[in-house]
Every structure is written in structure tokens, then in C-alpha cells.
């Protein structure tokens, strides 16, 4: 009601000073708008009304609406797929490995500083996901990084095809390399088939089952043969899956399982899947891929896999893996993929449209089209240029972060417009 009143007042006053509190409609003019779907608009104007994008394009500004002028780039807020923000250590259960109905949303703590940090890095939405140390990890949650907004309480069913889901040593002396490296480390399985010194009897102790790749497939097949509950929703394609797999053979196993059971969703991991056979297999499975986070010094083969997937029409998104990695790592991952030969539009889509698709929220997010949520970031320059800085971050049309280091000091009115984190929770 107060919104409507505010709109009327502004309409009458016309050139009223800009405050979001009293005025749900405003416009942003930027030198460049990246829409998120691959297109860009020079000297574009975006009108935001009640937290949604109501108009976007080139052209005249509306003299009756408050105006935010920006000399840089306006881009959609980034969507980070897979993070443990605010729930570190809560994302898996070391005592058992099959937890279909576990919900990450119950570990969501909206005021946790991880989310503010993510927002400061231009990330407006994240997928909270189990760690991949459980065979069936539970259900992901898709949340915004400010305002406590929960977009999806049951985002994906998380399944893991990785070795850590089979391990008894999770959280203890877990420190294996890839199976290949391990195999070479203990080339003769005769003398020491159980591995190196870290693999002590004590570290192996546990009661999680299954313990083998074949056992894992058996457990999963049994559950999908006559699916019930979340499995049945996943089997019908109503609930996307998030499959974790790291080694190439694990990726092949996961892709084949998804194909056999007609699952939709994405695969998380695959750092070395820059192998044409694996990329083909993934493309055939219809899954998207969540890669990263990439760091300085990442092997080129990992980085190149982004371009390889995208060339095959596989949607790619980046993982945040916070708090282990700083949220700025998301943009770094994208920039590194770009430097390894991926196309610029594709990399941008991996941060926005494709990520929203993989997160399952593309009806509301991922691009700045009319009717979508006004989650956007004002950058000093191209977001993929690491020297660009964030001027401000806006979620649901409200500014949640602004740079305060002197180069751009927000006015008192602008400050007043910042959304209270609890204001819009649980819409």
C-alpha cells in the first residue's frame, strides 16, 4: 500500500529526489547494459518497478522517474551454483551417506556474513548444496544473498558419484589424489593394496555404505527402479539433479546414469573433463555442468573444458565453493576460462543466464528482461576485466551494497534505500 502511495507522490512531484523507500519505480542509465542473454545495449536505460525490471532498452529516459546515472556497465547479478556459504560443515552427514530428504534450506542462515560477502562480489543468488561427500546428499536450496529470499526450497536432488561419497575417511585424514595418481603411487597393489600411510586402519573405520562404485550404482538403481518421494520427482523430470563427479571415469558413470534414468539437471565437478570423449558423453546426457572454482595456477586442461562444453551446447555455470574460496573467485573463474579460449558471451552467460537455468530459477533470474527480478550490479567497466570494480549491487530493486571508498560515496537518500536483510524474507 505504501508503495502505491509512494508512486503517486513521485508521479506528482516528477523530479523528486531519488529514494527507493518512497518510490518503487526508478530508472538506471548506464553506458553499457549487459542483458545477460548475450546481448548488450549501449547507453541503455532500465526501468525498475517494484523490484522487477519493467522496461529495458535504448532510448529516452523518463523525466518523471528518478534516475540513477552510471558511467560504467550494468550487468545482471551473478548466480553462483554450488556453495556452502553460511553452512560450512553442515552440508554432509559423516555417519551415513544416503539422505534423500535432507534439506539444505534448514541450514540457511540469511544473516550470515558469507552472504554479504557474496553480494559484495556481485553475486546475488547462490545454490546452497551438499558437499558431495554423501551418495544422496539431499535437496539444495536456491537463495538470494540479501533479503533472506528463498527462491527454491527443493532446488535439486544432490547425488554424488565421487569417491568421497564412498569413503569412510571424510573429515578425517582424507587426502587422496585422483585414482590415477593413487594407482601410480601404489603401483604394485600386491604389497600394499590399501594405499599409502594416510590410509591407516583407524582412518578407514566407519560404517557408511556403500564403499564401492558398483555398490553406489546398485543403491541408486534400486532407488530409481521404483522411485518414491524425491526420487520419483527426479525420475519424472520435475526435480533437477545435481550430480557430483570429479575423475573422468566418475563423470562418465554419472552421465550414463543420468541418461539411463532420463534425469535433468547438472553435473558438478569435472575439472579434467576437457577430454572430448567425456564432453561428448556429457552433451549426450543433456546435463549442464557446474565447474570451478578455478584459481591462479589451475591446469589449462581444466580451464579449457569450459569452452569445450559450451561448444557442444552444454550449459556451464561456476561454483563458488565459499567459504573455502573467496566469493571474488567466481569472477576470477570466469576470467580464467575466458583466458583459456572460451567465448566472452558464453562466459558471461555462465555467470548469469546459464547459471540461472542450472539453478532452476530462469523464470525469475539470469537476465534483465522485462518482468524478471531487478538483481543487478553496476560495474566500473567490463565485469570480466578483473580491474573493474563494483560500484553498487542491487537485489529485488534495492541496493544492498555500495562502494564506500571515496570514489563513489552514496548520498544519504541512496543509503536510506538499502534493503533491510529481513524485510523481504520468505516471499
Amino acid at each position: 500500500m505504501s508503495f502505491v502511495l509512494g508512486a503517486l507522490v513521485t508521479g506528482v512531484l516528477g523530479s523528486a529526489p531519488f529514494t527507493q523507500e518512497s518510490n518503487p519505480a526508478y530508472q538506471v542509465r548506464a553506458k553499457m547494459i549487459l542483458v545477460g542473454d548475450g546481448t548488450q545495449i549501449e547507453d541503455g536505460v532500465m526501468v525498475v518497478e517494484r523490484g522487477k525490471v519493467s522496461r529495458i532498452g535504448r532510448g529516452e529516459i523518463d523525466p518523471h522517474l528518478p534516475l540513477v546515472e552510471h558511467a560504467g556497465v550494468l550487468a545482471p547479478g551473478f548466480v553462483a551454483c554450488q556453495t556452502e556459504s553460511g553452512e560450512e560443515g553442515e552440508g554432509y552427514e559423516p555417519t551415513r551417506s544416503i539422505l534423500p530428504e535432507a534439506r539444505l534450506v534448514h541450514a540457511f542462515h540469511p544473516d550470515h556474513s558469507d552472504f554479504a560477502a557474496a553480494a559484495r562480489a556481485g553475486i546475488t543468488t547462490v545454490v546452497l548444496a551438499p558437499s558431495g561427500n554423501d551418495l544422496v546428499g539431499g535437496l539444495t536450496a536456491v537463495v538470494k544473498t540479501a533479503g533472506g529470499v528463498i527462491l527454491e526450497r527443493e532446488g535439486h536432488l544432490a547425488l554424488s558419484f565421487g569417491g568421497s561419497a564412498l569413503s569412510q575417511t571424510v573429515g578425517r585424514s582424507f587426502g587422496f589424489g585422483t585414482a590415477d595418481e593413487d594407482a601410480q603411487a601404489s603401483a604394485s597393489s600386491d604389497s600394499d593394496p590399501r594405499g599409502g600411510p594416510e590410509d591407516t586402519e583407524d582412518a578407514r573405520r566407519g560404517s557408511r555404505q556403500p564403499t564401492s562404485y558398483s555398490g553406489a550404482l546398485r543403491e541408486l538403481r534400486e532407488r530409481f527402479a521404483k522411485p518414491q518421494g524425491v526420487y520419483s520427482r527426479a525420475a519424472r523430470g520435475e526435480l533437477p539433479v545435481l550430480l557430483e563427479a570429479w575423475d573422468r571415469h566418475e563423470v562418465m558413470r554419472a552421465a550414463e546414469f543420468a541418461r539411463d534414468h532420463r534425469l535433468i539437471g547438472a553435473l558438478r565437478g569435472a575439472p579434467l573433463a576437457g577430454d572430448p570423449d567425456v564432453a561428448d558423453s556429457l552433451a549426450k546426457s543433456g546435463l549442464g555442468v557446474v565447474v570451478g572454482p578455478y584459481a591462479i595456477g589451475q591446469r589449462r586442461r581444466s580451464l579449457e573444458s569450459v569452452g569445450m562444453f559450451q561448444a557442444r551446447g552444454v550449459p556451464v555455470a561456476f561454483a563458488l565453493a565459499s567459504p573455502e574460496y573467496a566469493p571474488e573467485g567466481l569472477r576470477l573463474s570466469a576470467a580464467l576460462a575466458l583466458s583459456a579460449g572460451a567465448k566472452r558471451e558464453d562466459v558471461l552467460r555462465a555467470l548469469t543466464t546459464d547459471a540461472a537455468k542450472i539453478a532452476g530459477v530462469s523464470d525469475r533470474l539470469g537476465s534483465l528482461e522485462r518482468g524478471k527480478d531487478a538483481d543487478f550490479v553496476l560495474w566500473s567497466g567490463d565485469p570480466l576485466d578483473l580491474s573493474s570494480r563494483i560500484e553498487s549491487v542491487w537485489i529485488d530493486g534495492k541496493r544492498v551494497h555500495a562502494r564506500t571508498d571515496g570514489m563513489h560515496r552514496p548520498t544519504r537518500e541512496e543509503d536510506a534505500g538499502g534493503a533491510h536483510p529481513r524485510e523481504a524474507r520468505h516471499r
Partner: protein, 415 residues
Amino acid sequence: MKAIRNAIRHGLRFGTACACLAALANAQERWVVRAKTLYTAAGEPIEDGAVVVVNGKIVSVGSGGGAGETLEVAVVTPGMIDLSVRIGTREYSVEQTTESAIEYPVEETLDLFSQRWETQLESGVTTVLAAPLDMDVFGGLCVVLKTGGPRTLQARRVKGEASLRASLGTQPSAGNSVPRGSPPLDFYFRRPTTRMGVEWVLRNAYYDLLNADRFGLAVDARQAERNSILRRTLEDGLPVFVQARGTQDVHTAVFLKEEFGIQEMVLDAAAEAWMEPELVRRSGVGVVFPPFPPTGRIPDGFANDSYFMMWSAPARFHELGVPIALSAHGADEIGERLAQQAGFALRHGLPFDAALEAVTIGPARMVGVDGRVGSIEVGKDADLVLWNGKPFEPTSGIVGVMLDGRLVVDPRSKP
């Protein structure tokens, strides 16, 4: 959106078709491989022989040849076969929640991207039997694979469910313990902890089967699956590969075979089988030898056990007519690979033909793939090893390897 997706799918299908055509084009190449001596492992060696390969298969063996890309080397033998290659995904190849992982297919645990398959291929081993680590009494159903080609099971599998893996001795019980001072909370507490316990688990699986059959007991789906696999070892000749390193394990294996009437049994890593030559001969089991130990003794690794293998054991068993195969256990080191194992056996009395057989057609017969691989005969897969001298001699080397008609190591690129 749907249109885009369809377009992508279509494009992919087209891409796949192209890839297949390319593979086909490669396989369609016609090769003539000439050798001063051609050891076929199916009869007398052929001097100045030639093998003609079309579409990945051998189409003629003799002295002729004809048109086609020609390779000329000193010696050609069949691709070698190792039945105890031990390349796996370490502990994740083993289901440890049960000691009788009878129904678990080993092929689902493999890492076909491991560099070690390529090492095998380049060292002349073109076909292998993949088994899990012996951390269970029953390790599951093993698969016979090619060591090269596309990295999918469909492409590499020669025979699925080729054998059932079992293990005796100290290895399956290592790591298990009795609850002393601590509550029996995890599944390592209920498994066998001794040789006797291991044997009991093996025997018990067969008793479960026999009881169910004799008394018509109702069994659950999993037990029924286990029983049907065990029944195949009694009725359909599914071979049971039993790791039996020590003398007492050889006894146990043979007695189990005779007690239950297991049709086909092979003793794997049977270091001390030579101590009981008559028993082994009488029982009709096959023997896969472990690699020859440089020190003479093979350490057990778990218990304070070690096994002594006599260098002349393969020769002795050959004389007795026991089916034998040699193995390098997937060794990566040049001096320990399968060709060297054959050389060691040769130097300790095994005739050349028998040594060749023990790494080619002999192991192929043990797992029932001798119709496809193991010898150079018309209609078989074109898996060939090209040598620059008499095979298994220290001065000879492998200069070329062909797998399914694809030249994976090219002799022309060697100096």
C-alpha cells in the same frame, strides 16, 4: 528452446556419426604385416609369414599378402593377455559392506582413463581380466577388456561376467577385527579375521545355495541373485578365480572345488602351487602365476607371511599338463612387464612355445575368449605384437602393437 535443444542433439548425432565413420575408415585400412617369423600360437611358426588385416580382423595368415599398407618386422606374435592385471580404483573397487560381494560387477568400478591401461597396451598386453582388490572373500564378477580403444566399456569389453573373483588367505580378512574394548559399531567387526574364517565365508555361500535348492527355502532378491551366480559356477562353467598364494590356500581352493563340484577354477597368484603339483594336476584347476619375485619370496603385506615361488614352477606345471598363465600384475616398470615374466619362465625351463602360450592363448582359454583373441587365426581380432627379434629374449624389444586393426605403436617410427 526445444528447437534449440533438438538442433543441439541433432548436431551431436551428426558429430557422433562423423566420429564413427572416421573410426570405421581407420579400421577399414587394410594392413599386411610381414614377419621373418610369425608365431601364431596356433600351430607351427611360419617363416616369412604375412598377416592380412581388414576391418580390425585377421583375414588371412600365411606367406602371401597382396595389396595394402605393409609393415615388415622380424617377429609377430598375438597380442598378450594378462589375467591378473590389478589396475583398478583402489579401495573404491571393493564393496566392503559385505564379505560376499558376489553380485557386484567389477566393470562398474573401473577407471578407463587410467594411464596404466596405455602402459599395458604399449608393452604388448592387449587383453586383460580386470578384478577388484582382494579385500572381500568374494570380490564380484570380473570383465575381460581390451587395453585400448574408446574409453567406454561398450567399446572395450570382450566378455562381461567372465569370472567370479574369490580370495583366500590373509588378504580378505586384513583390517577386520573383533570388538575388544570397543563396541562393534562398524561393518569391519563382523567379517572374518582368520584364514579359517575366510574359508568359512566361501563355503557358507555355497551352503546357502545348496540349502535353498534342497529345502526350497525362500530367499530375498539379493540372495537369489547371489545364488544364481554361484549356480553358474556349478552348472554353466563360470570360472571361479581364487587368489590362493600359500600352500594351505591352494589346498583349500582345490578341496572347495571338489566338495561343491565347481566346474572351472583358476588359482590366481598361486606362488606356492608348485609345492602340490599332483593335487593341482588331479583337480584340473588352471594356475595364474604372480610375477617372479626378485628376492625369491613374495611378501604378503598384511600378516607376517611371505610366499616362496620356485622359478621353475611354470615349467614344472607345463610338463604335468596343467593350464598355466603368467602375469605381471600390471607392473609399470619395464623390467617387470609381462614379456619379461615370459622371459624369466623361459630361462627356467619353460619351452618357448609354452611360454608364448602362457601369455596368449592359454589365458584366453581360461576365461573363454579364445574364439576372439589369443592367437593369430583367420576371423580373430587383429591384436598383434611386433618384435625386433625373438620374443622374450633380453635383447629383443616390442617395436609395434596393433589393437583391433589399429596401429597403436608404429614400428616405422622406431629408429
